[in-house]
């Protein structure tokens, strides 16, 4: 296990750190300045998610160690790393999905807009932080019902047809399904099912959308469409995507975090992380020397 001090807590924005960080320990003086050369457009963007010293255990096994990071609003943040590095587990901490697993235990805090989600009602946390899973998993209902269900259980009172259409359009699926909204969702192809799952997630109007390897079960064409959809969603949502595919991370993300053996090794603007990695482990991984 790599020692703790090598974990790089990456904060790319000085001003933002000051404003958000009453409980953040002072940063080490020797911090690499590579990340703080962020272009000025980033200065205006607020940090949406602030994770501080997160540790996570499955039973006695510690899966995440001292994770700290900030995720900016209306950006795509990619989590990369070899299998078993904890990136999916970390993602599932952000919407408290791990609460459902017996024996799971979390320490540390995850602040969303400054509020600790572990002090909040998990139902309301998940309602604000949507999730798209690795395997497309629509409900065995009609396409229409799939989109609508989450909104209805959260007390949606607006126009149902409009909501369904808007969400399907946002997920770039409307034109393909508008004539068969009453058909069962399992009649769709894998890529369409995954975009339906995105539409379903958007229907509850979340702030943050978490995606756990959403393209890993899709063919290259469906993947390209999904990536296009993700790029378009960025203007309205904060998106975190876990991916095995480094090309995908570099294509769609603004920031990238590299996880290894349960630690956050490095986080930076995507182009910086891929062109000038600071940690040798990151470099080894992105150049294909392991992983």
């Amino acid at each position: 296990m790599a020692d703790k001090t090598s974990t790089t807590e990456t904060v790319r924005d000085e001003a933002e750190e000051q404003e958000h960080a009453p409980n953040v320990p002072p940063r080490p003086a020797d911090r690499d300045s590579g990340g703080s050369s962020a272009p000025s457009m980033h200065e205006a963007v607020a940090s949406k998610i602030h994770v501080q010293d997160l540790n996570f255990w499955y039973g006695a096994k510690q899966v995440l160690r001292e994770i700290s990071m900030k995720v900016r609003a209306r950006e795509v943040t990619a989590f990369i790393g070899p299998s078993g590095c904890g990136k999916s587990t970390f993602l599932r901490c952000i919407n408290r999905m791990n609460d459902l697993i017996p024996g799971a235990h979390v320490e540390g805090e995850i602040l969303i807009d400054g509020r600790d989600i572990y002090d909040a009602d998990p139902v309301m946390v998940r309602r604000r932080i949507g999730m798209v899973f690795q395997k497309p998993n629509p409900f065995p209902k009609s396409i229409y019902q799939n989109v609508l269900w989450g909104a209805m259980i959260n007390g949606y009172r607006g126009n149902k047809g409009e909501l369904v259409e808007r969400c399907l359009r946002q997920a770039a699926l409307w034109d393909e399904v508008k004539d068969r909204l009453k058909d069962n969702a399992y009649g769709l192809s894998g890529g369409q099912q995954q975009r339906l799952c995105i539409a379903r997630t958007l229907a509850v109007e979340p702030d943050v959308v978490l995606m756990d390897e959403p393209a890993s079960a899709l063919d290259p064409i469906a993947t390209a469409k999904l990536e296009e959809t993700i790029r378009e969603l960025k203007s309205r949502y904060t998106i975190i995507i876990v991916t095995h595919n480094m090309q995908q991370a570099s294509r769609i993300s603004d920031a990238t975090a590299f996880f290894y053996l349960g630690e956050l090794v490095e986080m930076n603007k995507t182009e910086m992380l891929f062109t000038r990695p600071r940690d040798p482990r990151t470099e080894d991984y992105i150049t294909g020397r392991f992983g």
Binding site: M124, R126, R127, R128, F133, N137, P138, F139, C197
Partner: protein, 298 residues
């Protein structure tokens, strides 16, 4: 296709391929024989019953009350009693059984108490039915003073099939893909919303199959009802759940015990009726399952 060109000369292998094929053929013959054996036994029984009973099977038989004269005896009270019994048993056992299974599967923490309860339910499913009869006699008939009523019988039967309903419902719930649960929770659903909107509808075919199969068992059960004192000669149709009753297996048991051959033929005719009812129930289980599984990809 050219022959494989890999030279293979190792002496470490002795494939005995013919022997292995012969063993395989022997095995398949063995398995086939086992299947045929049970089929033959079953067919013999069915044919025997059919030969004896089918000539007695007519409208008079279905619509008359039992009588000491074989040619006027019928199973009206037994059929009506059995139908009452099944409906009452289902009404009592299904809600309790499904609710228990939902609690155990979706709510109960996985601790020693859960494992103890689980073990006991599995055990109860194997307890001889006559034991349930003794319990029913002591508790429902005597303590709750329900007498020899349909209610006492149905409560006893409900206890008898409850473990099977719980276990089959648990299995049906466990078979719901985890992705459905997770994606419903991820939309901000509460646990009860996930259960009502997704888990129960998806598990419904499995639950219904378990319910119908256990009710099929209940409709054929005799011992517990004899224990609680169901009547064997009933010349009336029960009008309320507190009335006395008889059921088909008890009527069959009663007739088989008579010395006259005619009554044994009556018993055979009643067995045919019971089997037709069972067949209908099992058929409906299959049809329901197929109907609800139309859109299942898994």
């Amino acid at each position: 296709m050219p022959e494989a060109t890999i030279p293979f000369k190792s002496t470490d292998f002795n494939e005995r391929v013919h022997t292995r094929h012969r063993i395989g053929m022997f095995m398949s013959a063995l398995f086939f024989g086992a299947t045929i054996f049970s089929l033959i036994v079953l067919l013999t029984l069915l044919v025997d019953v059919a030969i004896k009973g089918v000539s007695w099977l007519d409208w008079t038989f279905l619509s008359n009350y039992p009588s000491r004269l074989p040619e006027r005896a019928g199973i009206k009270s037994a059929i009506v009693g059995s139908l009452w019994m099944i409906v009452l048993t289902a009404v009592i056992s299904v809600p309790i059984g499904v609710a228990s299974a939902v609690f155990l599967e979706e709510y109960a923490p996985r601790n020693w108490f859960f494992r103890l309860v689980q073990l006991n339910i599995a055990n109860l499913a194997g307890v001889p039915s006559v034991i349930y009869g003794i319990l029913g006699l002591a508790f429902f008939v005597r303590f709750m003073a329900l007498e020899r009523s349909l209610m006492a019988g149905a409560l006893t039967m409900a206890l008898l099939i409850l473990p099977v309903i719980i276990i089959s419902t648990q299995e049906a719930l466990r078979a719901v893909p985890q992705g459905i649960r997770e994606s419903a929770f991820a939309l901000g659903a509460t646990r009860s919303q996930v259960i009502w909107s997704h888990l129960l509808p998806i598990a419904a075919p499995g639950i219904m199959t378990g319910v119908i199969l256990s009710l099929s068992r209940a409709i054929g059960e005799t011992a517990p009802l004899i224990m609680i004192g169901a009547l064997s000669f009933v010349a009336f149709v029960p009008h309320s759940v507190m009335d006395g009753f008889t059921v088909l297996p008890i009527q069959i048991f009663n007739w088989t015990a008579r010395p006259q051959a005619d009554f044994r033929h009556l018993a055979a005719a009643a067995i045919i009726v019971l089997m037709v009812i069972l067949l209908c129930m099992n058929l409906s289980a299959i049809l329901l399952r197929n109907y609800f599984e139309r859109y299942r990809p898994w």
